[in-house]
Symmetry: C2
Subunit: 318 residues, 2 copies
């Protein structure tokens, strides 16, 4: 059997990864597999940072960013600050077929989705609305405006025909400003894919990921012969040190990469569970952490971590 592989961010992408794995195993395309992976996460109402159930901006509106890239042609499509669309990643993929007008934002993006028959729905769940209302009250009391919830789902696929794709989807920072967009829809920052080399996606504080164009940087390092793991390590850790010095701080950043041989790599400056499968390795959730000497430490995820995660995801919100 020919080579195939898939890697995706956060443990929430595991069901999507299983779906993508079986598609790739069956000889389906990298583009179809990555889109279906992302759609699984977008559909799940309890994930607070992606698609349906995603947390809203400060006005209580769920605005989403997503992207799709075809590693064969380098064609890309992106949407940002799009509203009311069930599957932002599918709109991005549709836009990737355009020679012009392939990155749409705001009302124009939402209008395009409507005009092209995409499923529209109110993306704000009761649960997300309650979390938002509680946050508004808390901010009113404390005067603090902390941001969180930048867990973008990103994924990269390699199919048996040696094509690669990358895609991302997120509802962005919880309590972000109306119209704020992060790295996820931005070529080279949130994602990049070149079937001749490899592909990468990012998750974390978009404003800082953009400062280093980290997905492109990883692909460029793989082009020079680095393994995906070395490319991730050497792209992330020196950048974090540099940014801390020049900018005074650096947000949370996690990166995943895959090369055309199906080898993968990960780097992160924070606890970062991710999912991976390829022809030789069965689907699994692994845990990455920043290790010693600017290397990433990767180990099997513990059952107790998964149990805690499930509990947290399902915890009642009042």
């Amino acid at each position: 059997m020919k080579n195939w592989a898939v890697i995706s961010t956060w443990s929430m992408s595991y069901d999507g990864l299983l779906k993508a794995s079986s598609m790739l195993q069956n000889g389906e395309s990298a583009g179809d597999a990555v889109e279906n992976l992302i759609k699984k996460v977008e559909s799940y109402p309890l994930y607070k940072s992606v698609g349906y159930g995603g947390l809203p901006n400060e006005d209580g509106v769920v605005q989403m960013d997503a992207a799709f890239m075809n590693g064969d042609t380098l064609a890309q499509g992106s949407v940002a600050a799009i509203e009311n669309v069930k599957h932002a990643v599918s709109v991005a993929r549709k836009l990737s077929l355009n020679k012009t007008n392939s990155f749409l934002v705001g009302e124009g993006a939402t209008k395009f989705a409507m005009q092209n028959g995409f499923e529209m729905t109110n993306m704000l769940t009761e649960r997300a609305k309650t979390i938002w209302q509680n946050k508004v009250k808390e901010q009113f009391k404390t005067g603090l405006h902390p941001y969180d919830g930048h867990d973008t789902v990103g994924a990269v696929t390699l199919d048996q025909a040696e094509s690669m794709s990358a895609a991302t989807s997120t509802s962005g920072l919880f309590m972000k400003k109306d119209g704020r967009i992060g790295d996820s829809p931005l070529s080279g920052s949130g994602f990049y894919a070149d079937s001749h080399i490899g592909a990468a996606t990012a998750t974390g504080l978009g404003e800082d990921i953009m400062k280093g164009c980290l997905s492109y940087e990883i692909v460029r390092r793989m082009a020079k012969g680095q393994s995906p793991q070395d490319a991730c390590d050497t792209a992330l850790y020196p950048f974090c040190e540099d940014l801390k010095q020049r900018y005074g701080q650096v947000g949370e950043i996690s990166l995943i990469a895959l090369n055309r041989k199906g080898e993968w790599g990960v780097a992160t400056n924070v606890e970062f569970p991710f999912c991976v499968a390829n022809e030789k390795q069965k689907a699994q959730i692994l845990m990455a952490n920043p290790g010693k000497n600017q290397k990433t430490q990767i180990e099997p995820i513990s059952q107790s971590w998964l149990d805690d995660y499930q509990k947290q995801i399902n915890a009642p919100v009042e």
Copy 2:
């Protein structure tokens, strides 16, 4: 006297470049110089692709994209599909001071500009409205929807304190879809600046520039020791060939770069006038064209070209 330098896209940026040159000569900052350069172009009503007088989208609305990057800290600010704001670049610069919410699009971007006291005005001139109305009629008759007018103003500055900045501003493709954004506000594609190395900006078909993250690619090549001219040449021409093969076509792309020593470079796949000045070279408009063996050919601009340009810019529109 210490080193300073500035380079900017298209002959329309000449007056802005003069302004920036005199600021840099007087010891003012790279950030102030680049913002003032861009503002000059944004203000001029006869330039159809930037700011006031810029051509609208297919709905007749002028939507602008702009960005600002501080090469010392790597801080960036961007706006996209912003409306009714006189100086999009100044809004972008203000956003670059934010740790989060530094890239705003659509209504959220416009609202931010209003709330922060930026000058608001209807950016659609009578002249631009007439050109748009004529185009709508022509498209109705011919059924053709050609795009043009992707002349972004982009500029890079180096000040006497060895700081660098980059900025861009554009009204984007004429007759673009509502919400379409190009490369100009995207880190690494439309612009990138690192005071330790150099900086670059791009102009042309944004959808294709994004496919290669060309501004970041140039800065990375300069980091490896290439001169700005070699970095521009080797980033652009092989990419254009590659994209033609993989994607079937490649749009117009022009690139400018400056390194921390004040040396500059340019590459283009189309006739491309640009402006440059530094401590040793007085301000001038030069003409770049794609030359032989993947090298850019650069020569003084002819008076007849400038006369024709003035005539075209000032031609009556009926």
